[in-house]
C-alpha cells in the first residue's frame, strides 16, 4: 500500500498554497462589492430596477465571501497529527449519508440527483474520522455549487490493491479556470474547496485524481487506505 508521509515543511508549503488560493478567491467578490458601493456613491445608478440589480449582485457576492470563509475554516482544521482509527465496514455508507443529509438544502436548490452504490462488506477505512467526514462533505458541496443545475452525481465504491476506491462521477463538467477543458485539471488552479478535499485526503494517506471533460462530465477517483487486517472479503 502506498502511503504519503508529510513533513512539517510539506504541511507549511501546502498551507501557504491553500491560503494564497483563498486570497485569490476573496478578491473577486470583494472587487464587486466595493465596485458597486463606489458606483452607488457616484450616483450613476438612478432607477429602482438598476438599484435592485446592484443590491442583488452585492448580496450574491457577500454570500460567496462567506463560502470562502467556510473553506478557510476547513483549511484551519487540516493539521497533521490527528488520531487515526479503524472505521468499520459500514462507515463509508454512513459517512456519505451524513454528508447528503447536511447538504440537503443545497441539493434541493440545485436540483442535483445524488446516488450512492456502496456494496455490502466494504473495506474498513483507516484514518481520522473527522477528516473523512470533511472529505466527503466538502467534495459533495463543491460539486453542488459548481455543477449546472439538475446534474447527476454518483458515488461508487470498489476495491483496489491498496484499499478502497471511490469513484465520483458527474454528468456535467465543472467550470474550471486556467486550464483547457480537455486536459487533466491543474491542481494549482483548482478552487479552494477542491484543494481542501485533496489535502484532507492526503492527510488520511489517500489520494485524489480528477478529470474534467466538456462532453463526458467530470470524474473524481478517491483512493482510500484500509486498515491493516481489514476484515473485508476483498482484502482477506
Amino acid at each position: 500500500m502506498t502511503t504519503a508521509t508529510f513533513t512539517a515543511e510539506d504541511a507549511a508549503s501546502t498551507m501557504q498554497m491553500l491560503l494564497s488560493r483563498a486570497e485569490v478567491e476573496l478578491r473577486t467578490p470583494l472587487a464587486l462589492i466595493q465596485g458597486y458601493i463606489e458606483t452607488l456613491k457616484t450616483g450613476a445608478i438612478k432607477n429602482g430596477d438598476s438599484l435592485t440589480r446592484c443590491l442583488e449582485v452585492m448580496d450574491k457576492h457577500s454570500r460567496r465571501l462567506m463560502h470562502v470563509i467556510d473553506d478557510i475554516n476547513a483549511v484551519a482544521q487540516l493539521q497533521p497529527g490527528g488520531q487515526p482509527s479503524v472505521c468499520d465496514a459500514s462507515f463509508l455508507q454512513r459517512c456519505l449519508e451524513t454528508s447528503v443529509e447536511r447538504l440537503t438544502p443545497l441539493i434541493e436548490v440545485s436540483g442535483t440527483a445524488v446516488e450512492a452504490h456502496i456494496p455490502p462488506g466494504c473495506c474498513e477505512l483507516k484514518g481520522d474520522r473527522m477528516v473523512w467526514h470533511l472529505v466527503f462533505t466538502k467534495l459533495l458541496e463543491e460539486l453542488l455549487r459548481n455543477l449546472p443545475t439538475n446534474s447527476r452525481v454518483s458515488f461508487k465504491a470498489s476495491w483496489e490493491t491498496s484499499g478502497c476506491a471511490l469513484e465520483v462521477s458527474c454528468d456535467a463538467p465543472l467550470i474550471t479556470r486556467g486550464v483547457a477543458p480537455e486536459e487533466n485539471v491543474a491542481w494549482s488552479e483548482a478552487a479552494l474547496g477542491l484543494l481542501v478535499v485533496k489535502r484532507a485526503l492526503e492527510l488520511n494517506h489517500g489520494s485524489l485524481k480528477w478529470t474534467n471533460d466538456p462532453q463526458q462530465g467530470c470524474r473524481f477517483l478517491l483512493s482510500m487506505p484500509c486498515a491493516d487486517g481489514c476484515a473485508s472479503k476483498h482484502c482477506r
Binding site: 485569490v24 472587487a31 463606489e38 430596477d49 449582485v57
Partner: protein, 257 residues
Amino acid sequence: MRRDRHRAIFGRRVDVTLMWLSRIMSHILIVDDEKDIVDLVTLHLNQEGCEVIAVYNGLDAVETAARERPQMIVLDIMLPGMDGWQVFRQLRTDVRTRSIPVLMLSARAQAHDRINGLEMGADDYLTKPFSPRELVLRIRSILRRSQKVVMTDELRVGDFVVDRQNMALSVGGRLVELTSTELRLLTVLITNPDVIHSRSELLNGVWGYADDTHSRTLDTHVKRLRDKLGEPYGTHIGTVRKQGYLFVSQPVTQTPK
C-alpha cells in the same frame, strides 16, 4: 460563443450620438469569466463614451480581438479554456493584434504575477479589488499614450525607421518584430537621439508610472529590445549607469585587440 456588445446596462442607455459629437468613441474588449465584473466595468466605460465588447473565455478573446481589432483589451488572467497568459502570448504573435494595448485585471496579486505580466509586455496590471474610477483613468491614460504614437507617421534616424502608423520598425531594411511597449520605448529614445532619458522619465513616459519602483521592468525591456535589434544595431541603445538610457546615433564600434 457567448459574446455581448454592451452599450446599455442596468436599464440605462448612454446617449451615444452626443458622445460621438464630443469625442471619438473607443472600442474596448473586456475578457473576464465573471459576468458581474464585466457589467461593472462596462457601466463605467459606457459613461466615458466607450463601446465595450465582452467575451467570457480565452479562446473567444483571441478570435474576437483579431476580428474586431479593439483599441484596447482588459484581460483577466484566470479564465476557463485558455488562461490570460496564453491569450496574451497569442495576441502578441498575431500581426493583427500585437499592437493592441492590454491592461491585465486580475485577482492574482502576488508581486511575481504583476512582474510577470509587465515583463511579458502588458501595458498595465491592476489587481482586484479595484476602484472602477481608477481603472477608467488607467485605461484613458493607456489610450492617450497609444494614440500619441499613432498620430505621427514615420521617424527616421540612420538605419532605423519607425512607422508609427502601423506600429512597425525596420532597421537596415529588415522588419524587426517588437511589442507595443518595446516600440514605445524605442520611440521615446529615438525621438531625441543622443539625449539621456532618466529612468523615471522612461517609466513615466512608456508605462505611466509615477515612481521608479518598477525599474526592473525597464531594464528587462531594454535588454529584450537590444536582443531583438541584434548586432550591430543593439549597440545604438546606450546605458548611462545610474542615470538612464539613450539612443546613440553613432555608436563607437570596438575593434578586437
